[in-house]
């Protein structure tokens, strides 16, 4: 019996070393590259689309841009608005300005890729109606030489449709006659932004009108790091749903990248037969001088 037990213990020791990590076949290894179409349109800028290719997640190749493609824009009647002209590095530019509430379809055709298409409309502009700097104080929470700055702003939401918004704030510094801008991190405990922004600061706050549909509402945000700035630019984006879903999910993906305990994040795409996003927005900006 002693010999038997000794043998078993030896086998256990050996087998313990076998517990392993191994490479296995990846079923999506041979995934065909697809067109990646990225475009955000607003009435102030002519159509601009970028095309690149996707690769299998284990492919170490370049996510290179796609040349010699045909990129056409159609309106909601299916009439060709224009065919975009290839610029360089995968950018395709148009000459016409898109209009709000027109449902545009972009179709991209390129050799060796399946045709990709996507549709989107620019939402109506919602403008900032009021804004104010509530307080400027040296918060005990703020780092040394930083000032905490509270901003309130208001706008009226259109009751008829589901609306989506994005807020960002740029700090502008003037040096040697040149303006330099950079995004500020925004903190808020305002429940109207939803619960996602309660704990941390973000460069962009994305929110829907779920909690203030059809109302004129005032929002409060807090900004830090106001040193040496000349003025602030407060941006309110009226977003299409595609624009909102993409930015919201991409923001989460960036925020949790590399965290093995975080749930995986699906980044939104509305490109048929491809990847990327085609969204629309309008921008209402206010300059706040310090």
């Amino acid at each position: 019996m002693k010999n038997t037990i000794g043998l078993i213990l030896n086998i256990m020791l050996i087998s313990g070393l076998l517990s392993c990590e191994k490479y296995i076949a990846f079923d999506e290894d041979a995934a065909t590259s697809k067109i990646v179409l990225n475009a955000m349109i607003s009435p102030d800028t002519s159509f601009q689309v970028h095309l690149s290719r996707s690769l299998s997640v284990i492919d170490a190749g370049n996510l290179s841009s796609i040349s010699n493609a045909i990129v056409a824009v159609y309106d909601d009647s299916g009439i060709l608005v224009e065919t975009l002209i290839e610029d360089s590095m995968g950018y395709y530019n148009g000459s016409q300005l898109p209009e709000e509430n027109v449902n545009y379809t972009i179709v991209a055709e390129a050799l060796n890729y399946a045709d990709a298409n996507a549709a989107c409309a620019i939402p109506m502009l919602t403008a900032i109606s009021e804004w104010d700097t509530l307080t400027i104080n040296s918060s005990p929470n703020a780092a040394q030489n930083e000032t905490e700055f509270q901003v309130s702003f208001a706008f009226t939401d259109d009751e008829q449709v589901n609306n989506f918004y994005m807020i960002s704030v740029l700090a502008v510094q003037t040096s040697w006659g040149q303006n330099y801008s950079y995004p500020l991190y925004i903190e808020t405990s305002d429940p109207k932004f939803g619960s996602d922004y309660a704990d941390k600061s973000y460069e962009k706050l994305l929110f829907s009108d779920l909690l203030f549909d059809g109302e004129t509402t005032t929002f409060n945000i807090t900004l830090n790091d106001m040193s040496d700035m000349s003025y602030l630019i407060l941006n309110l984006y009226s977003c299409s749903e595609e624009y909102y879903l993409y930015n919201k999910s991409y923001q989460t993906a960036v925020d949790t990248e590399g965290n093995p305990f975080a749930q995986p994040v699906q980044v939104y795409s509305n490109i048929n037969n491809g990847h990327g996003v085609f969204g629309g927005f309008q921008l209402s900006s206010k300059i706040i001088y310090m």
Binding site: I5, I8, M12, S15, G16, L18, S19, C20, E21, K22, Y23, I24, A25, F26, D27, E28, A31, K34, V36, N38, M40, H50, S52, R53, S54, L55, S56, V57, I58, D59, A60, L63, G90, S168, P183, S195, A198, D199, E203, K204, L245, Y246, S249, Y250, T252, A253, V254, D255, T256, E257, F261, A262, Q263, P264, V265, Q266, V267, S269, H275, G276
Partner: protein, 791 residues
């Protein structure tokens, strides 16, 4: 007055008929003649009238028959039937002690003598044989009820080695695990690799997957009703085992013969004790650490009279990881000594008092008061001692994180058997829940002065759950038996009350003598949610109540099936089911389970689930070769408005095919072997399949200073299938009678053909820098042995 003669005649006829139909009740308990242990579910059958009943969860039965000679046969699988013939002229108590048939060369007790599967109105219900639990090979030789249940159709195991159960598409929180009627919240040791139940102390295990009788409630997907042994009423006995990672001992016996009995059992792992000297050798200043778990069961059973019995039962189990670090140094005549201790502890504590009282031969009552507590604790404490010429100064600080749930509960249940064609159950109960979703406590001392002593985190939440039910097992003619019932429950939390009326139905129709068709419907409500990370059964899982935003969970399940006994040995059942679930919770994209103690509502989404499929169970319960083959074909999906962009996606444990084969064979009186083979479609996991540049990366328009990584395209949640899981385990037991009792050497091999089953997938780079899909496997071929004894 002309009617008077007619009226008298009518009264006479009524009285004659009444006297002809005069009935009396036979009642009593059925027990194991050797141990006095009650035989739950024993069959009582009068062959003259063709009427019968079964013993309830306390071994009590009651049958009301017409005044006549009765020929009573009391039987239970594995025991020789007790046959009694007598004239029933008054209410009669018949307590029956059955003797084990294991010593008989020819097995006489066959399926025909117990209530056969096709005769029972219940469906989706399996009574697990404890002998099977003890004779089948298992990981590291640790007998495990939950792992044996995983081999049954309709039950999916979670990750490799885990004892978690996923029943008919439900989550691990949707199983009502009852130990002597008390809910057990976390039934896992060592992150789920072992369950908390010590098989030596268990009398019976019943798994219900659908067609839930109305007396069960509170969970959506299954009931695992585990009854502890009551303790040998006749003489002191014991059994135990010494295994690779743990040893256990159970002792039972009479405190007063045939009146009061006790049973105690305990189990502890000892890896930490064995390894401590080696760890101390390897570290300076005697630092050490380790892990252990233990569990302890105790029960006292006292019989006041044939009408009145009292049971006291308790369970305590704990897992503990710990590390003690010591550090000492001197500088300028001052000596500094510091000692820090960190640890993770979790465990359940359960206690129950039950009083069985026979109000009348037809009316049995059971009153129960229970306490159940699950607590998880992470702690770190450091003390520092500074000694110099002037004296000694002490200081220190500690951090502690606590979460858990605590229940006080009271209930009263009645069994009423007015006639052999009716078996009525009704009752009610109330549970007071105390939720502790996550509390942090920090203290800091400087000498005798406490400079910080603060507690923060989620508030404790008190809630009340109440319920009532009624059901009747009705026999209609020879072919139809139905069990309609209604379960009403409510939950009060933060001033809000949720209520639910839950109709239940199950029934069978005898197509012929050995084949029946069955159907059931259950509406279930669950007033608890479990915040759990995907897959791994970490003790950090949090039980939380419904809130204003997160409603209770509900399910509707319909099942249809057929049941058949083939020959006298094989039971076959085939069932199809369709189950919908609502108000399920899942973590949002990007949410992490760290820090869920606070603001957990903001990290989750609420949605629905759907599961449907078919199950086949072929079981042989008698003879030298016994066991079962189970096969499940199923689809399980989830749909959440704010997950997967509102599209349906497969549940992580959506398993198209699941096979479990468990067979034991008795070669002779001294040797038996066991074989287990399992196969399951790979789990569904979320993996990026393609990569591409983001809009922000190519335009960089809105915020030039941001980090803009490429996007990994995830087509859908749980879009990728792990490789399939399969494994063969084999074991052999050598039994030998000794003067003092019996000993058994058990040898087993887990994962006989060393299949590298997937536990976790991720992408990594190989030596050439290529990105590769990488699989982590946990358990290769693992031999085990144990020595067990009975006296």
């Amino acid at each position: 007055m002309k009617l008077t003669p007619n009226l008298i005649l009518l009264i006479c006829i009524f009285l004659v008929q009444a006297s002809i139909a005069q009935t009396y009740t036979i009642s009593g308990y059925v027990e194991d003649g050797e141990t006095g242990e009650k035989l739950l579910g024993a069959t009582i059958y009068d062959s003259k009238s063709g009427k019968g009943t079964t013993a309830n969860s306390y071994g009590f039965y009651s049958i009301t028959l017409a005044q006549d000679t009765v020929s009573l046969r009391i039987s239970f699988v594995g025991f020789v039937s007790d046959k009694q013939t007598f004239f029933l002229g008054k209410n009669t108590t018949v307590n029956s002690s059955l003797n084990s048939s294991l010593n008989l060369r020819e097995v006489e007790v066959l399926a025909s003598e117990s209530e056969r599967i096709e005769e029972r109105s219940e469906m989706s219900t399996i009574n697990l044989s404890l002998d099977k639990v003890k004779s089948l090979p298992v990981l590291l030789g640790e007998q495990d009820i939950m792992k044996t249940i995983q081999l049954l159709p309709g039950v999916q195991s979670g990750s490799e080695g885990s004892s978690g159960l996923y029943v008919r598409g439900g989550g691990p929180d949707q199983n009502l695990i009852l130990l002597d009627g008390v809910p057990v919240y976390n039934a896992s040791h060592l992150f789920g690799f072992f369950s908390v139940f010590n098989a030596d102390a268990i009398n019976s295990v019943k798994l219900i997957k659908g067609g839930f009788p109305a007396h069960y409630g509170g969970r959506l997907s299954s009931v695992i009703d585990i009854r502890m042994k009551e303790g040998n009423m006749k003489e002191v006995h014991g059994e135990g085992s010494i295994g690779l990672i743990s040893s256990k001992l159970m002792i039972e016996g009479p405190i007063k013969k045939d009146k009061t009995s006790f049973i105690i059992s305990g189990r502890r792992t000892y890896i930490d004790i064995l390894s401590r000297p080696f760890i101390k050798q390897q570290t300076e200043n005697g630092s050490y650490g380790g892990y252990f778990f233990y569990d302890f069961n105790a029960k006292i059973n006292h019989k006041f009279s044939d009408k009145s019995r009292l049971y006291l039962s308790a369970y305590n189990g704990k897992d503990r990881f710990y590390a003690v670090d010591k550090y000492s140094y001197s500088n300028d005549g001052t000596t500094y000594d510091s000692e820090s201790e960190s640890g993770i502890n979790w465990g359940n504590t359960i206690a129950a008092i039950r009083w069985n009282y026979l109000i009348s031969p037809k009316l049995f009552s059971n009153t129960t008061i229970t306490y159940s507590k699950y607590q998880f604790q992470v702690g770190f404490a450091e003390t520092e001692v500074e000694t110099d010429n002037t004296g000694t100064y002490t200081g220190g600080y500690s951090f502690e994180y606590l979460s858990g749930i605590q229940d006080f509960s009271g209930k009263v249940d009645f069994d009423y058997t007015p006639s052999p064609d009716h078996y009525v159950k009704f009752g009610m109960g109330y549970t007071n829940h105390l939720f502790t979703p996550g509390v942090n406590q920090i203290t800091q001392d400087e000498g005798a002065i406490s400079v910080i002593d603060t507690t923060f985190g989620s508030d404790r939440i008190t809630a009340g759950e109440f319920w009532g039910y009624a059901e009747d097992d009705i026999k209609i003619g020879n072919r139809i038996k139905i069990n309609p019932g209604i379960h009403f429950s409510g939950f009060n939390v933060n001033g809000k009350t949720y209520t639910s009326i839950q109709p239940r139905f199950s029934g069978r129709y005898m197509i012929n003598e050995k084949l029946s068709a069955k159907a059931s419907y259950s509406h279930m409500a669950q007033y608890l949610h479990l915040l759990t990370n995907a897959g791994i059964g970490l003790p950090t899982d949090l039980w939380v109540p419904p809130t204003d935003n997160i409603k209770p969970q509900f399910s509707n399940q319909v099942a249809l099936g057929i049941a058949h006994t083939h020959g006298k040995l094989f039971e076959i059942s085939v069932e199809g089911y369709y189950k919908t679930m609502s108000n399920l919770i899942e973590y949002k994209d990007g949410a992490s389970f760290f820090g869920t103690g606070t603001d957990w509502e903001s990290k989750i989404e609420v949605g629905n689930g759907l599961s449907y499929g078919a199950e086949l169970l072929l079981e042989k319960k008698h003879g030298k070769t016994t066991g079962w083959v189970g096969y499940t074909l199923s689809w399980t999906n989830r749909q959440f408005k704010n997950l997967n962009f509102g599209e349906v996606y497969p549940y992580r444990y959506d398993r198209r095919h699941d096979i479990g084969i468990a067979v034991t064979h008795e070669i002779n009186d001294h040797v038996d072997i066991g074989v287990v083979w399992v196969y399951g479609t790979g789990n569904a996991v979320t993996l990026g399949t393609e990569q591409y540049q983001s809009y922000d990366a190519v335009f960089n328009g809105l915020n030039g200073y941001s980090y803009l990584p490429n996007i990994e395209s995830i087509e859908s949640r749980n879009n990728y299938r792990m490789p399939s899981y399969h494994r063969l385990d084999m074991g052999v037991n050598f039994h030998k009678k000794k003067n003092w009792g019996e000993r058994t050497w058990s040898f087993g091999i887990y994962n006989m053909y060393n299949r590298q089953n997937p536990f976790y997938l991720f992408f990594s780079n190989d030596n050439q820098g290529n990105t590769r899909l990488t699989q982590i496997s946990l358990f290769p071929i693992i031999p085990s042995f144990s020595y067990s004894f009975k006296f």
